[in-house]
Symmetry: C2
Subunit: 156 residues, 2 copies
DNA sequence: GATAATGTACTCGGATATGTTGTGTCCGAGTTGTTCTGG
DNA sequence: CCAGAACAACTCGGACACAACATATCCGAGTACATTATC
C-alpha cells in the first residue's frame, strides 16, 4: 500500500496555490521549478486535480492553475483522492464463496465481516483527512511564508 | 494506494486457522484449495506471516501453519502489516527544502504539517484495524461455521 | 514382541519469470497579450 | 493618435516509452511418520 510520489507534490502545490491572491494563477512550469520536480509529470498530475474540480486551469499567457474553491472548502482528502482515486485499498473478491470451502449462499446475505472492518478503517482514514482544509494548513505557517510564496510565484 | 490481492487471502486464512483446535495445523495446499487460490503464491505469503510472528510453521507430514498466539492477541492490523509492511503510504521527501522555493532551515525545525496530518490519518487507520482481533471476527460467524471449517481443513 | 534403523512422503523455504501500474517524457490544440499596419 | 488585424509566445491537454513492484511459478532442504529388519 503506497501512495504515488506525486501526492506530496500536489499537496504542496495546492497549499502554495492557496497562498496566492484570488484570481492569480501559477503555471505548471513555475510550480515544478519551485519544488524541483519534473515539470511535465507535475502538469499531468495537476490535470487530475482539474478533473476532480479542485483546481481550475487557464490556457495562454498569464494562465495556469488556481483553486476552484475557497481554501476553506478544499480538504486534504479532496487532493489525495483526486490523484489516487477514492477506491478502498482493500478489494473484497468474495473468496468466501469460492473453492472447496465455499460458504452456502444463506451465510453470505450480509457483507463479509472482514470487508466491513477494512472499510471502517478506510472510513476512519478518510474522515481524518477530510477534517483538514488547506486553510487549516496555511494557518500553521509562519507569518513570512505567504508573502514569500506570493513573490516567488508571481511572474515578472 | 492499493493493498495486495493476497491480503484478502491471508485475512481469511488467519480467520480459518483461528477456528481450528489448538495445536492443529493446516497446510498451504489445504488452505489454497479451500479458497480456490494459487497454492504456491499463498505459501509464499504465509511465510511473511511466519516472519512477522503471527503464524508458526511446522514441516513434514501433519505439519503446516497454525496461529502463533491466541486469537484474542492477533489483530487485523497484525495480519495486514505482516503482508504489506508497516510503512506510512505517504512518504515525505521534504520537497519544501528543494527547488527554487526551498524554505530556510529555520522554518523546517518542526515536521512538515502535511506529513503530520497524513501520519495522523494513517494512525487512525491503524487504530481502527488494531481494535479488531481474530476472536472478534470469529464471534460474528454463525454457529455452524466453526465445526464446518474444522471438518473441511482436517485431513483424513 | 519390542526396538531401532531405514525409507518415504509430505511439509516449508527461497530463488526465478511475467504482467500491470506508476513514473517520466514528448508533441499538438487553444488562447491571450503584443505588435504592426492602416486610417 | 486610434482601431483593427495578424503574429508570436505561452498555456494546458492527451498520447507515447520506461521501470519497479506485485503476481505467479518452480525446485530444493528438512522433518515426521510408517515400515521393516533385528534382537
Amino acid at each position: 500500500m503506497k501512495l504515488p510520489t506525486s501526492t506530496e507534490w500536489l499537496l504542496h502545490a495546492a497549499a502554495s496555490l492557496a497562498q496566492l491572491e484570488p484570481g492569480v494563477s501559477a503555471s505548471a512550469a513555475q510550480l515544478a521549478e519551485h519544488y524541483g520536480v519534473p515539470a511535465a509529470y507535475l502538469a499531468k498530475q495537476l490535470q487530475a486535480l482539474v478533473r476532480a474540480g479542485v483546481l481550475a486551469a487557464t490556457t495562454g499567457p498569464r494562465g495556469g492553475f488556481r483553486l476552484a474553491r475557497p481554501a476553506t472548502a478544499i480538504s486534504l482528502l479532496d487532493v489525495v483522492e483526486a490523484v489516487d482515486g477514492a477506491a478502498n485499498p482493500y478489494e473484497c473478491r468474495e473468496i468466501r464463496q469460492q473453492g472447496r470451502g465455499a460458504l452456502p449462499a444463506a451465510d453470505c446475505r450480509s457483507t463479509c465481516i472482514l470487508a466491513v472492518k477494512m472499510a471502517e478503517a478506510h472510513d476512519a482514514w478518510r474522515a481524518s483527512l477530510a477534517a483538514v482544509s488547506l486553510a487549516d494548513v496555511l494557518a500553521t505557517l509562519p507569518e513570512t511564508a505567504i508573502p514569500r510564496t506570493r513573490s516567488l510565484l508571481t511572474r515578472g
